[in-house]
Amino acid sequence: MSYLGTHWAHVLALTGAHLELVLAALALAFAISLPLGVVAARSARGSTLILGILGALYTIPSLALLAVLVELFGLGTLPIFVALVAYAQFVLVRNVAAGIRGVDPIEREAAIAIGMTPRDLLLRVELPLALPVIVGGLRIAAVAMIALATLGGYVGANGLGALIFNGLALHHSDEIVAGSVASGALAIAVDLGLRGAERALR
């Protein structure tokens, strides 16, 4: 704990870098998952296909996927960024689809009855009503991504993982503890924050 006292600025900067990496990946992952989730909500076959592929991707252990991505992209931030975006897809797509499917058919019929186009129906009725479930997916994805981003330290990405793996390599247990505690605290804080957002939306 004394390390946190003397190096708090360093730990804070790494926490910021960690969060930045996760948020950038989450933004891109969300942009990809929205159309996929809409397709999965509309057709049963699309849902089976998309969620089947993403589910299989999700079972690949993170270290293994990361290792393959390092072969493709080299060391640094890029492989962990791609891994984060890929892993988030399963949870995000599943929740977008579940949220849209959960919209009351009566609301949908009412929207069609007042002459909404399919595009308006999606943007002004289905997605807003699905929002709490979608934010729930974002929360689960964000927490998982904070954990996975820690592994980035092993392949040379900036963030709290750099502190942990540096500590592991040099046997500096105070660095390991500081990195572990900070990443745990960050995950809990983001979880609580998004839980609050979820509740406010319901």
Partner: protein, 200 residues
Amino acid sequence: MWASILQHAVRHAELCAQALALAIAIGAPLAAAAATRARLRGVLLAAAAVGRTIPSIALLTLLLPLLGVGTAPALVALVLLALPPIVVNVDLGIRGVPAAVLDAADGLGMNARQRFARVTVPLALPVALAGVRTASVEVIASATLATFIGAGGLGDDIVRALQTNDPALLAAASITVAAMAFAAELCFARVVRALEVRVT
């Protein structure tokens, strides 16, 4: 290469099986006891929620200064990792037993112990096992990270492949871990389905 992978796969499976067995032995009775005690249940589920949030690599490395290097800290971390889904699902399973069924059991003259063993447990089992299934996949994936604290397993091969730039070893080890996770998932899915059919 395959000899090394086989040896590490056995070690990997051993570590995971031990962690899962311990987590079930600790988590299931705890969750069962808490299901009827509101305060204990609140504390347990809150702890499970926090436990689920903490990154697995943080759990593994956090125990390093306390327990040192090797199997012990890895086993403790994997048990901690497996506990939340097991606790949550055992609770969900027990709470999901319809009150009418419990009333019927009382009406048949069962005592509390008989009711728990013959009614609650069989009805809660499919949901509880679904939790074990989630836990098993997480444990198998996370056990790969146990290499960083010297506990062996297939993570050793993956790390060695990365360090020596050996794509063949990397692919073989990665596919083996993924296959183990996938096999565990399929196995438990089948058991859960069989139990559901039998009960309903």
